[in-house]
């Protein structure tokens, strides 16, 4: 009996999942219709992934822009709840993520720690959503009869060039951006995209409104320039150790004077701090006249 079963298993054609992209709370294919094979380090195909085009970038920015005002209008407390919810859902699917990381080449004894670190990172920023404003806002002493204060506001739509680190790096770049009320268009790493596309499924079941996180897979050299130049993108978070990549994106970013933050880290284990949030915030200072 068991022999027959294993013979059948050997004959069976494997079903390669097509990992679709996550845009506007939906899972469309690339508008271009193109796809690539995702491979293990030894070259075995394990899935199909969409090779997105600049038009997918355009659509993702439209979705991010549409979601931005509503996301920023949520209470900070509610954004914290939702980030915590993402952590809960990620924890629940930790086995799947460990398997994906192992298939992508992470050492088997490190996968569990990586998924836990990613979950803890979400908790970290879930806690900061309703606290960074108190820490970084200020009432400013001025010499005139004004009540003068500075508060932080989200930049708006943030383009993210995600780190090579397929899960911890990805989470560490997205979480601080959305914790502060931004929406994101994320260009996922080409070397190991499967944890990211699966993380899209986690986001979709975590009360994250559609359009807050949009993730595109494919060849990032054809998507980065249109994203960096797009006039409806307000800031860029460039997680790349290659100074030429960051530089070329910064040149495209001058069209509308985007804020550019560069993160050259390769190891994301210790990259968590409220400054990751404030780097994607704009300071608004108000002068309010008062009687003398």
């Amino acid at each position: 009996m068991s022999e027959r079963r294993s013979a059948a298993a050997a004959d069976r054609l494997p079903v390669l999942k097509t990992h679709k992209v996550y845009v506007g709370g939906k899972f469309p294919r690339s508008e271009s219709g193109r796809f690539d094979r995702a491979l293990t380090p030894d070259g075995t195909p394990i899935a199909n992934i969409c090779r997105c085009s600049r038009k997918d970038v355009r659509d993702a920015v439209t979705a991010a822009r549409a979601a931005q005002a509503g996301w920023a209008a949520r209470t900070a407390y509610n954004r914290g709840q939702i980030l915590y919810r993402i952590a809960e859902m990620l924890e629940g699917r930790s086995g799947q993520f460990e398997a994906l990381l192992a298939a992508g080449g992470t050492a088997p004894d490190e996968t569990a720690a990586e998924v836990q670190a990613a979950t803890d990172r979400l908790l970290h920023y879930a806690g900061w959503t309703d606290k960074f404003q108190q820490v970084f806002s200020s009432v400013n002493p001025v010499a005139t009869s004004h009540f003068n204060f500075s508060i932080l506001e989200p930049m708006g739509v943030v383009g993210v060039l995600a780190p090579e680190s397929p899960l911890l790096g990805l989470v560490s770049s997205i979480a601080p951006a959305i914790a502060g009320g931004n929406t994101t268009v994320v260009l996922v790493t080409g070397s190991q995209p499967l944890p990211a596309t699966t993380f899209g499924e986690v986001l979709n079941s975590s009360d994250v409104p559609g359009g807050v996180v949009n993730m595109l897979t494919g060849r990032r050299d054809e998507m980065l320039a249109p994203l960096a130049a797009h006039r409806d993108v307000d800031a860029l978070l460039l997680c790349s150790p290659d100074p030429d990549v960051a530089r070329s994106a910064e040149i495209e970013a001058v069209h509308n004077l985007k804020r550019v933050a560069v993160r050259p880290h390769e190891d994301w284990t210790d990259i968590q701090s409220p400054y990751e949030i404030t780097d994607l915030q704009e300071v608004k200072t108000t002068w309010h006249p008062i009687g003398s």
Binding site: R58, V61, P226, H230
Partner: protein, 301 residues
Amino acid sequence: MQSSTATASFESPPIDAVGVEERVARLCSRSIKKDAKLRALHLTLSMIDLTTLEGADSEGKVRQLCAKALQLHAALPDLPHVAAVCVYPALVGVARRALEGSGINVASVATSFPAGQAPIEIKLLEVQKAVEAGADEVDMVISRGRFLAGDFTYTADEIASVKEACGEAHLKVILETGELGTLDAVRRASDLAMRSGADFIKTSTGKIKPAATMPVVLVMLEAIRDHYLRTGEKIGMKPAGGISTAKDAIRHLVMVRETLGQDWLDPDLYRFGASSLANDVLRQIVKQRSGIYQSFDDFSM
């Protein structure tokens, strides 16, 4: 009122709704790129009736809209101007003064827009007042209640008397296709309007959904074509309501070109009634010229 006897003696052909859907789907699959797209975008701008029809419209709002019509985008001085500015009768004078000498027409809705539920005397007086205040074009609504009840003679007479009240002004007849129910009714109303003196037939008021859907527009275009083949008279077409993207507009142009031919690709015979379409077209033109995706923040209201 001779038209009543004339209208009683014709039958509109029945419409094959499935065939219309298929034809529309095929026309919508055309891909218009590069230079052809840029030309289509410019043509679209020149066909727009920039419209504001809100209860909250003020003189300031209309002056602002006219300023936008006169200069669509400061960074692109070589653009064509829009065809007309469309307002309520009470604001025609304001628009007239703001657009004097620009070549942009002033259009006014009338006949108790958008419902059309007023005595005929009042409707005619409204038309007369709009024309006196300087409207070049009048957009009337038909009495859908009477039309749906089968009182075609009343509808024909109504259109004919409004046409008479218009004098020199062009008459656009709004069928409000969203309330007509079937494509057969749309075809009949189109034929009725054209035979009763309409210079343009127009889909909708913009107050009712669905408005200018592609199948409805195709049926109206075919009615215009048949009218032209029968009488040699070129009637204009104006889809209005729900066309907010450049992509939609280009699809409409493809449909017009394929149904009526090159002659109708002209602001004298084809218009878009829209408020937000112009900015999307501008955005696409700048994208097409610069290669960079644009933000709505860069375009004035």
